[in-house]
């Protein structure tokens, strides 16, 4: 089976600013992928590269086995801030979708519009943020893509609209068996819907993998102070903090930790993501201190 998204050394620069540098990862098809990272980490850039709105500065990107190009029938995209045509009504958006997509599923579109309670005669400019996001998702979904890319679709929504949107998304993905890559800067948004996670920080991919596997292989170790290098092979330290007598480590390890001097705790997804993010931030501090 081909990958949904595959990159090798993918780099994108806006002028002199690097938005994405040397990203290499492989996302299997048929998954709901969460792309998480702080604001400005390169999430939008990665998604826009994947749908062909941007071209990479260097490196390779393949979407569903092919080079991305805008106008592909196999990829649906809901852009950041869920842009819609303010002057067009809901019904006209559906009509546009039907005219522009040979694969348009008007049954699906009509059903979804009724389900989320959109007024067909309403101008899209008058819709609330949540309704706008629902409309944008409907247009992208009714195209019946094999891969759906969503760029912070719920960032601007209130908690209720957020839940309704994610609900709709889950129903749709369960029904159609479509691959989804969805970005957010909040793990909580992704935790409920995603089974695969990519953590992007400071233009680099920190970790990518199956959610269950991530949870199974990440541990918090608390024990007497010692050098993390003594841990042994097959274990990577994600984050470390030390007091005079005690060390707290977050490690990734496929093998169980059997050293009795460590107290081993399980981590939830949010802890893992935060560990990678704060490590990235600490790395930046270290670089700054090194330059001094």
């Amino acid at each position: 089976m081909t990958s949904a998204l595959e990159t090798a050394g993918l780099t994108h620069r806006y002028g002199r600013r690097t938005a994405l540098s040397d990203c290499t990862f492989d996302v299997p098809a048929g998954r709901v992928v969460g792309l998480v990272g702080p604001n400005g980490a390169g999430k939008s850039t990665l998604l826009q590269l994947a749908c062909g709105l941007l071209a990479p500065t260097a490196g390779e990107i393949r979407v569903l086995g092919a080079r991305p190009a805008s106008g592909s029938p196999r990829v649906g995209f809901v852009a950041q801030d869920t842009p819609v045509y303010a002057g067009l009504t809901v019904a006209e958006h559906l009509r546009m979708g039907a005219h522009l997509n040979p694969s348009w599923d008007s049954g699906l579109a009509e059903r979804r519009v009724s389900q989320v309670g959109l007024d067909r005669a309403q101008k899209a400019g008058k819709l609330s943020g949540g309704q706008r996001a629902q409309l944008a998702l409907t247009v992208a979904a009714a195209k019946r893509p094999d891969l759906l890319l969503l760029d912070e679709p719920v960032a601007a929504l209130d908690p209720l609209a957020r839940r309704a949107f994610l609900q709709g998304l889950m129903e749709f993905t369960a029904e159609q068996g479509v691959s989804v890559i969805m970005s957010s800067h909040l793990v909580a948004d992704l935790e409920r819907v995603c089974d695969y996670l990519i953590v992007l920080c400071e233009s680099r991919v920190r970790v990518a993998g199956d959610v269950e596997e991530l949870i199974a292989t990440h541990h918090r170790l608390v024990g007497p102070r010692r050098d993390p290098a003594d841990l042994g092979g097959g274990r990577a330290v994600v984050e470390e903090s030390h007091t005079d007598v005690q060390s707290t480590l977050i490690v990734r390890s496929s093998a169980p930790i059997d050293d009795p001097s460590w107290q081993v705790d399980r981590l939830d997804l949010e802890d893992i993501v935060l560990a990678y993010m704060s490590e990235a931030a600490a790395g930046r501090l270290r670089v700054l201190e090194g330059q001094r």
């Binding site: 805008s70 950041q80 546009m96 997509n101 195209k143």
Partner: protein
């Protein structure tokens, strides 16, 4: 794509059509009256020495509604390109970039290039149709008036007749699209489009058209019976003769001396000027003895269609160049 293009441009298209219909209605209503007036004033049947008949025809026509239609037609042909570039071309891509909707439409199953191609072709086609209809109606309707004025090839009327208005309208439209795409801000693109279109409309008769027209030069013995202006101050004199060519676009008309330079005096103060007691007649006689000639540089009215095609061709080439650039840019550079 065609439906979406129509849906997004229908306000502009219908407003444009309304303006054009208004002018066409004015043309249709005044046409019989104007034809009748040309006939009754004797202008239609006139074969030679028609200046007096023409003047009386123009004077009578000036009192009818046809005068309003005439000026409205010229104004429309000059304003149409600016309006089209401003309200139709400039927002077409700029608004999509500004509001982010390009990210929605480009993720439908339609390539960017096709998206732009349909928008450009449909827009330019509609603009050409509107401008073409108006220009055709005005050119045919105003034929007797233009003939009577003898100024169809003149700098103002020329750009309001025939093919040239179509060229300007289409050019302004594509220029607006291009600037909108490069500047990415609707209001800025509108302002710059207006500026460039206005500049093109002013620069064309001043700089480009004379070069395209290959004007002719005629040098004849100066006939001071047709003296139009005479200014004398001290040793300097300024002499102006009425042009002898008719119906032409006169680029320069001057009185030259035997060396070919513009005659600037000096004049004999006893014959000409404020101290002379002998009046205008003596001055003319004196000037006639000075071996002066009248040199006129002009574009004869027979060149009208040749010049129309040339200017139209240049505008069309510019339009094609800009369109090609847009289609290249949207694929290669625009994100």
């Amino acid at each position: 794509m065609i439906w979406l293009t129509w849906r997004q441009s229908r306000t502009q298209a219908l407003s444009g059509a309304a303006i054009v219909l208004l002018i066409l209605a004015g043309v249709a209503l005044t046409w019989p009256g104007l034809t009748e007036l040309a006939r009754t004033s004797g202008f239609t049947a006139c074969q030679a020495d028609c200046q007096d008949v023409a003047d009386s025809f123009l004077a009578q026509a000036g009192d009818t509604a046809a005068a309003a239609v005439y000026w409205a037609g010229i104004a429309a042909m000059y304003l149409l390109p600016a309006l089209v570039g401003l309200f139709w071309g400039a927002p077409m891509v700029a608004r999509e970039l500004e509001t982010g909707t390009y990210r929605m439409v480009w993720s439908q199953t339609v390539s960017r290039r096709r998206w732009l191609l349909v928008k450009l072709a449909a827009g330019a086609g509609a603009v050409a149709l509107l401008a073409g209809l108006t220009s055709l109606a005005m050119t045919l309707w105003a034929e007797p008036i233009d003939q009577a004025y003898g100024n169809r090839i003149g700098p103002i009327v020329f750009a309001a007749r025939g093919l040239v208005p179509v060229g300007y309208a289409v050019f302004a439209f594509v220029l607006g699209v291009t600037l909108g795409m490069l500047l990415r801000r609707t209001v800025v693109a509108m302002a710059v489009t207006l500026l460039v279109v206005a500049l093109a409309q002013v620069a064309s008769p001043l700089l480009v058209r004379p070069a395209l027209a290959q004007p002719e030069t005629s040098t004849t013995a100066a006939d001071f019976d047709r003296l139009q202006g005479l200014g004398i101050g001290g040793n300097d004199a300024h002499v102006e003769l009425e042009p002898s060519v008719t119906g032409a676009w006169i680029l320069s008309n001057r009185v030259i001396d035997t060396t070919g330079d513009t005659f600037k005096g000096p004049v004999d103060p006893a014959e000409c000027g404020p101290e002379s007691k002998q009046g205008m007649g003596a001055c003319k006689e004196w000037l006639a003895t000075q071996n002066l000639r009248q040199e006129q540089v002009y574009v004869p009215q027979e060149r009208f269609w040749a010049l129309q095609w040339r200017e139209f061709g240049i505008l069309l080439a510019l339009t094609a160049g800009l369109s090609w650039f847009c289609l290249w840019w949207i694929r290669r550079r625009l994100a």
